[in-house]
């Protein structure tokens, strides 16, 4: 057992080391894009303050190091990043790292709920579809998945607000909890849960559609393999075959694909959090874009990439734990 834990530890460490050049590359590209922007934070700050004298502008630029040449700013940026110092947000007047951490938990809560929902729905619906292949439950589920796959998330969110908040009045349309209600303990958890339902459903919908289709295809494919024929020839019932043999093997691709879908989900969370005024990283990104908060944007891009890398490592480990045939080496 302990040697197993050691192997996992070594595997994770190796993956983390491999991730370093990628992170540096991401930093280079992010920095280039953000700095290609015409106008800098000083312009935005000055524009907001009304008429600004050239002296004031120069002072602002000097204070934030914006007067340095680009390569100097890049080296400074890279050096600070190594110590997770992501700079200072001009607009929020707070360190970027602090802002990111403050907005991380709402996004994590939203994403984990959405992923769990997508997994459970994906497996249940995918199995139902595969076991009724080319009959009406399959057609119904496959068509539903196709439509969900084509629906813009922000639009679905708005339509759900119309239906559940405006017309039926059963779900809150924005925020993470009832402001000023002062709930504590379980009452507060229930309140947050109620606010969480719609955004999580909407954010998870795309992934659900994806996993339903993947699960169905995977069940059908595994169902044709030799070990299933063996099980059948032993006289095992179709239910036992489906749940004990096929299902376990068919779930593997779902885990793998999660790592690839997490980036799409982070993008979706910008839209979903904007629609539902969810106080997470996505809405912070929306704010940062419109306020030209360069440091904050760079920090956000870095944070998102980091989350993708970590998810990938976690799914790789999970994959190897589920299927011991794949080695940790």
């Amino acid at each position: 057992m302990s040697s197993n834990a050691l192997r996992i530890g070594r595997f994770v460490a190796r993956r983390l080391v491999q991730a370093v050049p990628i992170l540096v590359g991401i930093a280079v590209i992010n920095f280039l894009f953000v700095n290609m922007a015409p106008g800098d934070a000083a312009d935005v700050l000055a524009g907001e303050a009304g008429a600004a004298s050239p002296e004031f502008m120069a002072d602002l630029r000097e204070r934030y190091g914006l007067d340095q040449p680009m390569y100097v700013r890049f080296l400074v940026y890279l050096g600070k990043m190594m110590t997770f110092d992501l700079g200072y947000s001009f607009r929020f007047s707070r360190p970027v790292t602090e802002l990111l951490l403050a907005h991380l938990w709402p996004t994590l809560l939203l994403m984990v709920t959405a992923i769990l929902f997508a997994f459970i729905m994906g497996i249940v619906m995918g199995v139902i579809a595969a076991r009724n292949v080319n009959r009406w439950p399959d057609y119904l589920i496959s068509t539903g998945a196709l439509i969900a796959y084509a629906t813009p998330v922000f639009w679905l969110g708005l339509m759900m607000i119309v239906l559940f908040s405006v017309n039926m009045g059963i779900l809150p349309s924005s925020g993470m909890e009832t402001i000023g209600a002062g709930y504590t303990g379980w009452r507060r958890a229930a309140d947050i849960g109620q606010h969480l339902i719609m955004p999580a459903l909407v954010l998870g919908m795309y992934l659900t559609a994806f996993e339903v289709r993947l699960m169905r295809a995977s069940m059908l494919e595994v169902g044709e393999q030799d070990f299933v024929t063996t099980a059948r020839s032993k006289g095992l019932g179709e239910n036992a075959i489906a749940y004990r043999h096929v299902l376990r093997n068919a779930m593997l691709p779902l885990v793998t694909m999660l790592g690839l879908q997490i980036g799409a989900m982070l993008g979706g969370s910008v839209l979903v959090e904007t629609v539902f005024a969810w106080p997470g990283l996505g809405r912070l990104a929306y704010t940062a874009v419109f306020q030209r908060d360069i440091n904050l944007l760079l920090g956000l891009l870095f944070m998102c990439s980091l989350m993708v890398i970590i998810t990938n490592i976690v799914t790789e480990v999970a994959y190897r734990l589920i299927d011991p045939r794949i080695s940790m080496e």
Partner: protein, 281 residues
């Protein structure tokens, strides 16, 4: 060759969802063409009382928006924007992805490692977030939106082309080309690419759908080209009166949904028709 082509068309035309997708695409293209013909004044013109419900005034079949602009004009002109951006971003992304994937697969070694590293960097950054930053950095315009969408869409295609090349390279017809002394470029263009074309066509056609969704999301956030009215923009503006006038966002939203659905159906139809054995159902 013609027998192969015939069986391809026969398989495609037997696939009812794919045919429905083609018809839907024809309808949307018709809308895009009809826009400037029926509404030559463009979708921005204030033509009537604001916030008219569909059918409330016979002149405005789909009603008017917050400022009194005709939603039908917006819908038709929006089809144009979605198709144009979807197709041009896909063409650009296909070019980038094919060149990078082909170079990585063909040359191998450090070229491969470098290009795949670049691909991985782009795949690690969440596509929509990067697109938002790029569009915001260059100021929203048709050109910056197409650039951003193609910039975040090419990596899967590069991987696909590379994989195809790695599979084709050891085959005899390629080796024959090498022995004949073909140049690298000639080998790639005349021998390898034509044989990798099928999967490129399938994934490119599906990429148009993703591009349309990305564009809709960008313009919903207010990052659309301020000179063109897209479906995402109409939804973004209609959002302010969501509680009282939900019809404004419903129509363009459905338009996005049906466009993306149609393209996905056609893309999958192409895939099934090209690879009849992949259809195990």
């Amino acid at each position: 060759m013609s027998a192969v082509r015939n069986s391809f068309f026969r398989r495609f035309s037997r696939n009812l969802p794919a045919v429905a997708g083609v018809l839907l695409i024809l309808v949307i293209t018709g809308m895009a063409i009809a826009g400037p013909i029926f509404y030559p004044a463009g979708p921005w013109k204030l033509v009537g009382r604001p916030l008219l419900w569909p059918g409330e005034d016979a002149r405005f079949l789909l009603g008017t928006d917050v400022l009194g602009r005709d939603l039908m004009a917006g819908l038709l002109h929006g089809a144009r924007v979605s198709l144009m951006i979807g197709i041009s971003a896909t063409v650009a992304a296909t070019l980038i992805g094919t060149v990078i994937g082909a170079a990585a697969g063909y040359f191998g070694g450090w070229v491969d490692r470098l290009l795949m590293g670049l691909t991985e960097i782009f795949q690690t950054t969440p596509p929509f977030v990067l697109a938002v930053v790029v569009v915001a950095a260059f100021k929203p315009s048709m050109a910056s939106i197409v650039t951003a969408i193609s910039l975040v869409s090419w990596p899967p295609l590069a991987r696909l082309v590379r994989a195809q090349f790695l599979q084709l390279m050891p085959q005899e017809f390629v080796l024959a080309g090498v022995v004949m002394g073909m140049s690298n470029l000639r080998l790639i263009v005349t021998q390898l690419l034509p044989n990798a074309l099928t999967p490129i066509i399938v994934s490119s056609s599906l990429m148009i759908a993703t591009a349309i969704l990305l564009e809709a999301g960008l313009s919903f956030l207010g990052l659309g080209d301020p000179n063109v009215m897209s479906w995402g923009y109409i939804i973004g503006v209609g959002r302010e009166v969501l509680r009282t006038h939900w019809y404004i966002i419903t129509i363009p939203g459905l338009a996005v949904l049906f466009s993306v659905l149609a393209i996905n159906l056609v893309g999958e139809g192409l895939n099934d028709a090209f690879n009849p054995r992949s259809r195990s159902r």
